[in-house]
């Protein structure tokens, strides 16, 4: 970051790269006195054009390819793609496969949430540049965080062979389903992880949250009986209640000049929010009693409209994911066949699942040879980008009396509330504040 005084006493503040986010982009805030004149999230992550080259690939190759959109949440990309393709091809999956997919997702949520809570976001609240600096004074907390994250990764690796870009997910099920005794090996670590997650709720509840609430449109997948992972309708607190097949009628992506990520908005209403806050507010009743109790003890109840508290919600979701994983392992009996037999037919299918960062929408068309003819992917971060800008318009004026260094850090923190994954959304961050 550098501060450049100019002749008329105006100031330009530049930070060359916003840190502790996945991917690269920048932020420009232009201020005049206490007033914000411009906010731009500048996404310069180079486009990788996945939808372009997915066309012509066989449907069976898609989950491996889409995993490569994001190294932090590859399972989300595998899950949205297999569900969308199963709908296109009319495939029914075994109930045991359905359970296994939830379990797989639990591993990713644990790994990703632990990473974000402790390594990417907590340092902002505690005033550290990074988790390494934080470890110097909070060694035990960081060691526990690493162990918690590791258990999430171990669950993923147990089911998919490795943590990043696991190899077991397939359209119709899995290449290989774990034996019951394979899963039982991780029961004890998950019990430890559950305790560590409860401790995470207490830890995050003790952080200082800026006084900032917004009237959001929250959007998430919602299922009548379960906290959402793989399946359900897409709902919002302003009346949206649709099947994934109708997603593109209600949500549109706008292309803005300063971004290689598209900005998604609710048609005719504007920005909306996906992710932990939306899931929590729209699906609170489906959390386990223990997760709800942990939230209550932390003073967290729906509707939570303070985006800085997303760190607390992630902690509550960690509790849920550990409990859900333990429940599934207890109930699990291997499927008769690891994956369904697929009769190839032409068709189109769409699906949305809940990535750690929020709703992830995929749509594919396949031809009668099983080759992809059309693909559309809407990642959670591109849905949140407009909302991040809207938050900054309202949050930055609260900071106007602060030194620029402080404004910069708080603005970064406000962006990190969304755990943005720019590698995904472009399919960030450089902060620049100009102040008069």
């Amino acid at each position: 970051m550098n501060v450049t005084p100019t002749a008329k006493g105006t100031r330009t503040v530049k930070v060359d790269m916003l840190a502790r986010v996945e991917g690269e982009g920048g932020l420009l805030i232009r201020m005049k006195g206490d007033r914000v004149q411009e906010v731009k999230l500048n996404i310069f992550e180079p486009p990788r054009l996945f939808e372009g080259f997915l066309r012509g690939r066989h449907f069976s190759e898609v989950p491996d390819i889409t995993a490569r959109i994001c190294g932090i949440c590859p399972i989300a990309y595998q899950m949205s793609s297999v569900h969308a393709l199963e709908r296109a091809l009319g495939v029914q999956i075994d109930p045991a496969v359905r359970l296994l997919r939830r379990l797989f997702y639990c591993g990713e949520w644990i790994e990703s949430h632990a990473l974000h809570v402790y390594m990417l976001h907590a340092p902002d609240f505690l005033g550290y540049q990074d988790v390494i600096e934080m470890a110097a004074e909070h060694r035990e907390t960081v060691e526990k965080a690493l162990r918690l994250k590791k258990i999430g990764n171990e669950l993923v690796a147990l089911m998919g062979g490795r943590e990043i870009h696991p190899v077991s997910a397939a359209v119709g099920g899995f290449y290989k389903a774990p034996r019951k005794r394979d899963l039982e090996a991780i029961r004890e670590p998950l019990r430890w992880a559950l305790d560590a997650s409860l401790e995470t709720v207490r830890f995050t509840a003790g952080l200082a949250f800026p006084d900032f609430e917004q009237d959001y449109e929250f959007v998430s997948v919602s299922h009548p009986d379960e906290y959402p992972f793989n399946e359900g309708r897409i709902v919002s607190n302003r009346g949206i209640d649709i099947d994934a097949a109708e997603f593109e009628e209600h949500f549109i992506e706008q292309h803005v000049k300063h971004s290689t990520s598209l900005h998604a908005v609710v048609r005719e209403r504007g920005s909306y929010l996906v992710g932990p806050l939306a899931r929590f507010n729209l699906n609170y009743e489906k959390l386990t009693p223990l997760a709800r109790q942990a939230a209550a003890d932390a003073g967290l109840a729906p509707p939570c409209r303070n985006p800085f508290k997303s760190i607390l919600v992630r902690a509550v979701e960690l509790v849920f994911a550990c409990e859900e994983a333990l429940r599934i392992i207890d109930e699990y009996e291997p499927p008769a066949a690891p994956r369904a037999t697929i009769e190839v037919r032409a068709g189109t299918g769409a699906a949305a699942t809940e990535a750690p960062r929020g709703l992830l929408y995929h749509r594919y068309s396949v031809d009668s040879d099983g080759l992809v003819t059309a693909a559309r992917i809407v990642p959670p971060t591109s849905q949140n980008l407009k909302r991040m800008e809207d938050d900054l318009w309202r949050f930055v004026p609260q900071l106007a009396s602060q030194p620029v260094e402080e404004i910069t850090w708080r603005a970064e923190q406000a962006i990190r509330n969304y755990d943005p994954c720019i590698s995904c959304s472009c399919h960030f961050l450089k902060v620049k504040i100009e102040r008069e």
Partner: protein, 261 residues
């Protein structure tokens, strides 16, 4: 690596077009991370830290491929800043999955994905780092193996050659005791031409290796492609098998481009 004035060696992590997974492998080394952070100075690693120190650096880890004019210039500056430059993963080493554009019309891809193609600046080819600057070591994999990354860092710091095998996935499969999926199931398996390092995961999951670690040392990719055709695979299927995460590696390109005639 000897450090000047007894200071800790400085490490930097740079990102180009990629999924972030390979640099995440460093944070995924949960048991080693704090020890690594104690042994070196992590001077530039934006994914993990707000503190970004200027170069020069002793070791630069580069993730991602070159897909924009700006990035083609940036890698030149980075090379000048790094005493040792290491590419991590298939994007940086072979152009990545985004190199599939190299056989197609990138302009059409941009028009397909973006409403305003005029806002997008991208090169027609996705290329590995070594096509732009000299690279001291290329660590393979999509994603890399975190233990190989730790070994590479340790070896570089100690000034010795890293112990990273260049033999094929077949060796790992045998060692693991996996029944050969190519022989037993007739699976299209790239294991015979793919470098080890993943631990031969895919065959253990009942599927053929899809080549995410890229070509082994001296692979006979052409022969393997011919074998696939002789055993009844369709030409398009064979081309697609070689065109994934390391598609632009010349040893894999050789197999598919000849097939297309």
């Amino acid at each position: 690596m000897s450090s000047d004035n007894g200071r800790k060696p400085r490490i930097a992590v740079f990102k180009f077009a990629s999924c972030d997974g390979c640099q995440l492998s460093l944070l995924d080394a949960e048991d080693e991370l704090l020890a690594v952070a104690g042994a070196v100075e992590i001077a530039y690693f934006p994914e993990a830290s707000r503190r970004m120190l200027k170069g020069p650096y002793d070791i630069g880890l580069v993730e991602g491929s070159i897909t924009t004019h700006h990035d083609a210039q940036r890698i030149q500056q980075i090379r000048r800043q790094c005493r040792t430059l290491v590419t991590i993963g298939a994007c940086a080493t072979a152009g990545g999955i985004q190199a599939l554009r190299n056989w197609r019309d990138t302009g059409e891809f941009v028009r397909y994905v973006y409403a305003r193609p005029d806002y997008i600046q991208t090169l027609n080819h996705s290329t590995p780092i070594a096509e732009h600057v000299p690279v001291d070591f290329e660590l393979r994999g999509c994603p890399i193996n975190k233990y190989q990354l730790i070994e590479l860092l340790s070896a570089t710091l100690a000034g010795r050659k890293p112990n990273i095998p260049t033999y094929s996935v077949c060796i790992e499969c045998k060692r693991r005791g996996t029944v050969c999926v190519a022989v037993a199931q007739g699976a299209m398996c790239l294991g015979p031409v793919t470098q080890a390092g993943c631990g031969a995961i895919c065959p253990a999951y009942g599927r053929g290796c899809y080549g995410c670690y890229g070509p082994m040392e001296n692979p006979n990719s052409k022969r393997l492609a011919a074998h696939f055709l002789e055993t009844g695979k369709e030409r398009e299927q064979v081309v697609r098998a070689f065109r994934t995460y390391n598609a632009w590696a010349w040893q894999f390109r050789e197999a598919t481009e000849e097939r297309e005639g």
